[in-house]
Symmetry: C2
């Protein structure tokens, strides 16, 4: 299970559903993968990782190269950040500790500008990239993950020492190659910021309504009023993106709506955060897009109403 | 406890919190009051009515002139309709049965145009009036009512045989006098439709948010996000009213907001309906104002989003 010669060393910062799933897939493909864990360290070090996947079957990784401190990790070529956006700033010291010079840091999170706060805390020599995961996955218990559907990771360059488009795309392609070697679909994205807006077309309605209405995708897609809410919220995201200079591909919202109808029943990650009394990712998924649109002169009243309702719920849930 | 000579005979159609409270107050003031009940008939006939009032103390009425069928009621001069708007059409036969020729039918309900569907079912000879209750009251059990605060009833003429303003105002003043004789503040309203819009400035935010967020007025007024939601919803009601030709008095929304801060903690009636799995009054309080504003070219996106969320919840709760 140790990496072959020339294969990059991969560090996973935050081994929840996302970090655990992709880390396990890369390790099974022969990469040398090291997992940084906090509260789940003992469980994973003792029992390993398990992914029950509707796509790939039951997968296990044991033993796991698990660490409770970044100081014990070997220097990594790639660092995959799968933690919640709410903890990004706190992760910077661990990332710096585990990074080889010139390492690539890939933030696998939803929301707008989630790399910005991290960028300020990282040395200029590190490449920072963003990855958008199109996947239905959740953590059932420490080290135990259920993968329901999909899995692609699309990657874009955020900032760092690569100064021209060709150098940036080379690094992005290198990252995409890593995932493809593990059997995971991965595309390079020329414009990370635009891609993050596109991902919000799904995240803004489904994450928020799952918490507000206590409902997973199947009942949300079965009711005339929640369907209308989802469509109206999607239309506002598209409008906000456009105001910020990012036109969506024609029919993109309709495509996501139909895709969700065909998906297995799914509880979005924000609902899991709510259920486990973790802070909701309201800043990344709601506040920043609202602020960006407002700065461009565009009000998004339905998204703002949803954000306010979620703010109340989040504070009550704390 | 029987009515004095020349005092009008009053029938209460729907003896819930509103009908029970005002009926009991009128009966205690010496009016001849007759209560029509459905599911609660036996309990009230046996044990009477009880109002625990923070304003008037503990009040009881026993025995109660209670009826399970309108056919058994004496002909009434005034009929007070305190049932839910969702049952209005079904009440018309009872109202007609219990009404003296030329009787006044006073609908004590929230929402827009709640008299319209009833009007179509009543003979032209009956006067139809609307009453807006500014009161914090709820039913704890059959015949047991808690009155927390306030109490005024403001009355306007909807339709019927009074053909000029003077005749209409005379009948409205007659109704206001009835309540005042029972120690209840009551004002005549020259424009019922406008007054119904004004009442919606309170009902639209607080009724809906109490169900959506599972929160009573005190926590809603204590959180920065729900405060902002309430203010934004109030502003949309004012905007909708204006589009329909009804300017609010300056500062009216701010007045209601501050009044609610000073009120004792209160669960709006829609929350009680939700809790007891009764249908929510979404048509009267949300759908009709939205449709009226839209017909006047005015979109109210936050109210519409709230209405959609409540529609989903109402259907799930059924």
């Amino acid at each position: 299970m140790m990496g072959a010669v020339n294969k990059p060393v991969v560090g996973i910062i935050g081994t929840g559903a996302i970090g655990g799933f992709y880390g396990l897939m890369l390790a099974r493909a022969g990469f040398d993968v090291h997992f940084l864990l906090r509260s789940e360290f003992s469980a994973v070090a003792e029992h390993g990782l398990r992914v029950d996947s509707a796509v790939h079957g039951a997968l296990t990784l044991s033993p796991v190269q698990a660490y409770s401190s970044a100081e014990d990790m070997p220097p990594c070529d790639w660092l995959l950040v799968g933690a919640k956006t709410t903890s990004n700033a706190g992760l910077a010291p661990s990332i710096i500790q585990a990074a080889k010079p010139g390492a690539r840091v890939l933030v696998l999170q939803n929301g707008l500008d989630v790399e910005d706060s991290l960028r300020e805390l990282l040395p200029d020599s590190l490449h920072l990239l963003g990855g958008l995961c199109l996947i239905c996955v959740h953590r059932d218990a420490p080290g135990q993950i259920t993968h329901q559907a999909l899995g692609a990771v699309n990657i874009g360059y955020h900032s760092g020492p690569a100064t021209d488009d060709a150098a940036r795309m080379a690094i992005v392609e290198e990252g995409a190659g890593l995932f493809r070697a593990a059997g995971i679909d991965s595309q390079a994205m020329p414009n990370l910021h635009q891609a993050r807006w596109q991902k919000l077309v799904w995240n803004i309605p489904y994450n928020g309504l799952s918490v507000l209405l206590g409902a997973s995708t199947t009942p949300l897609m079965a009711d005339v009023d929640s369907r209308a809410s989802i469509q109206a919220l999607m239309a506002e995201v598209v409008q906000g993106a456009k105001a910020c200079g990012h036109d969506m591909p024609p029919g993109y919202a309709e495509y996501l709506f139909l895709m969700t109808e065909k998906m297995p029943d799914y509880w979005p990650s924000m609902y899991h955060d709510f259920l486990h009394k973790r802070p909701l990712e309201l800043e990344a998924i709601y506040a920043r897009p609202l602020a960006a649109a407002k700065a461009a002169g565009c009000e998004l009243p339905r998204i703002e109403a949803l954000y306010r309702n979620l703010g109340f719920i989040d504070r009550r849930n704390a």
